[in-house]
């Protein structure tokens, strides 16, 4: 199936679920990217997953992006039967970033979604175990957000560190000079 055919088929199959502002397009790595509306993510992805014409049964990657005015969730899926990759994107509003979990489609997505929640604070509705993954449970804020401010301390531990080069006497001659 050529790329154009696939795009046409995708457009037909996902009618009404696609984000009308964005066109399906080709990425620099020859993938096809489609943009879905975040409310219909589960239905549309379910179609891609189970429809015998597509069978995008392998989840390669999932990530979230902070676009400052909105969030994006991106899924890279792969269809072994077609041998094609597809990048699916959905935008979520910045104020209340909620999107439905895809756990029912891809069992392995559990941890990816937890990581996205941990790093960006995007909430996955109906997720079975939406806790922080990499950061401690009591960590404040979501580090990959663009407006994230580094905490000065955590758990009573000071994180600020002075630059060693400024603090030690810079006039001191180096012990390693003999090598140079």
């Amino acid at each position: 199936m050529s790329r154009e055919e696939l795009i046409a088929k995708l457009n037909a199959a996902l009618e009404g679920w696609l984000d009308t502002n964005e066109q399906a397009r080709t990425m620099p790595n020859n993938d096809i990217m489609i943009v879905l509306r975040s409310e219909s993510l589960l239905e549309a992805m379910g179609r891609l997953r189970w429809d015998s014409a597509f069978e995008f049964s392998v989840l390669m990657n999932h990530l979230g992006v902070d676009y400052k005015d909105r969030f994006g969730v991106i899924y890279n899926i792969f269809s072994p039967s077609l041998g094609r990759k597809l990048t699916v994107k959905a935008y979520v509003e910045h104020e209340k970033p909620v999107v439905h979990t895809l756990e029912s489609l891809y069992r392995g997505i559990n941890w990816y979604e937890r990581e996205t929640y941990d790093m960006l604070g995007i909430v996955f509705r109906r997720h079975s175990n939406l806790r922080r993954l990499l950061l401690p449970e009591d960590w404040e804020g979501h580090p990959l957000r663009k407006d994230y401010v580094y905490p000065e301390s955590y758990g009573g531990q000071d994180h600020s560190r002075e630059d060693l080069l400024d603090s030690c006497a810079s006039g001191k001659t180096a012990k390693g000079d003999s090598d140079g």
Binding site: N29, N61, L63, N76, P80, Y106, L135
Partner: protein, 374 residues
């Protein structure tokens, strides 16, 4: 009565347990020696590489990719470089492509030595582990000769490689590969691979079927061990892998069910031979001379766009999803690693096994903790 009722024991395996490679923690619920549930707890090695990427220039992120998977840093360099090149449309000189392949396949060898070596160490076989480490030492020496560092090689650059070959490298490399294929691997197999104790320990333990492997997005040798002949070097050739002849080893249930620990172990052992073949072909095909690096502008900018580029690292699919806003630094960079998906499956396949089996399962999945946490 309640006082004497039996209940499950909660065991804390890790973060510094000898067989949770790196710093990894499992919360085990056991009934004596039998496992009821093993919940992985990760994040002890989280260094925020994805956040760092948003703060450093494109080229300066390269040393950080060494730290994604410290056992095969060239492969991580390569993945990142390919992603940025794809996005920025940078051409790579022919000679550099071959050098990249040689270094990356050497990296795969070095990583697999630790991979199955550590598995054997976890099973109590110290000697094979040390023998594997001895070979890794040669790999370290070769890489030091080529790149100047023994662990964090930082060899690949955007648009090429950092150094051309040093004198005598190819001969040593060929010698190493011949030694591996004809001396080390047969001897190693006699020493340990066909040992009936090892077979008993690994066969029929931690079976992952094809479907489960796909569902949990398993990649690399773990996926191939489950019987799926999927190798990105073959199925989606990047760099110049389409020019080489090699086979993709697949788990066939050599001594038990297909997809058990032994299959994953055996796939890795066979991959060593395949990598040797690739290296030999790359040495033969290496162009005599030529540029090894495309010169980039002083202020390197990547045009706006996004791309997901995946490569086959020793631990499976290593993908970089890069979003560029046309600036000097990545806007968002997501690293998708093989260990991250391997660890999710442990909870699923460790039900009803013994504590000793969990050790074998972790080892056979070849999990590297820094790759999970990034």
């Amino acid at each position: 009565m309640a006082k004497y009722s039996s209940k499950e024991m909660v065991l804390n395996m890790g973060p510094h347990h000898p067989s949770t490679h790196g710093v990894l923690r499992f919360i085990l619920q056991t009934d004596g020696e039998m496992m009821v549930k093993a919940t992985p707890d990760v994040g002890f090695l989280h260094r925020g590489l994805e956040k760092i990427a948003e703060k450093v220039p494109w080229q300066s992120f390269m040393p950080y990719t060494d730290r994604i998977d410290y056992l095969a840093s060239v492969n991580c360099n390569l993945g990142y470089a390919l992603a940025v090149e794809r996005l920025a449309g940078v051409e790579v000189p022919e000679r550099a492509e071959y050098l990249r392949v040689i270094a990356a396949e050497l990296g795969r060898l070095g990583s697999h030595f630790i991979g199955f070596g550590a598995l054997l160490l976890d099973l109590g076989a110290v000697t094979p582990f040390v023998h594997a480490l001895r070979e890794r030492e040669t790999f370290n020496d070769l890489m030091e000769m080529l790149t100047g560092a023994r662990l964090t090689h930082n060899y690949v650059r955007i648009g090429g490689v950092s150094h051309d070959l040093p004198e005598g490298f190819l001969d040593k490399c060929r010698e190493f590969v011949d030694h591996l294929e004809h001396e080390f691997i047969p001897e190693f197999n006699d020493l340990i691979s066909f040992n009936s104790i090892l077979i008993n320990r690994l066969a029929n333990v931690g079976v992952i079927t094809e479907e489960t492997a796909r569902e949990f997005t398993l990649v690399g040798a773990n996926l191939r061990g489950a019987g799926v002949p999927f190798d990105l070097r073959k199925d989606e050739p990047y760099s110049i892998y389409d020019r080489f002849e090699f086979d993709v080893p697949v788990g066939r249930g050599k001594f038990g069910q297909r997809g058990d620990c032994y299959d994953r172990y055996w796939v890795r052992v066979e991959e060593v031979t395949e990598s040797c073949r690739i290296i030999r072909q790359a040495i033969d095909g290496l162009p005599g001379s030529g540029e090894t690096r495309t010169r980039l502008p002083k202020v390197f900018k990547v045009p706006e766009g996004e791309a997901y580029v995946r490569t086959e690292s020793p631990r499976g699919e290593l993908g970089f999803y890069i979003i560029s806003d046309g600036g000097k630094m990545p806007y968002r960079l997501k690293i998708r690693t093989g260990s991250f998906s391997s660890i999710t499956i442990i909870e699923h396949i460790s039900q009803g096994v013994m504590v000793a089996d969990l050790v074998a399962i972790i080892g056979s999945l070849d999990v590297v903790a820094p790759e999970i946490d990034r």
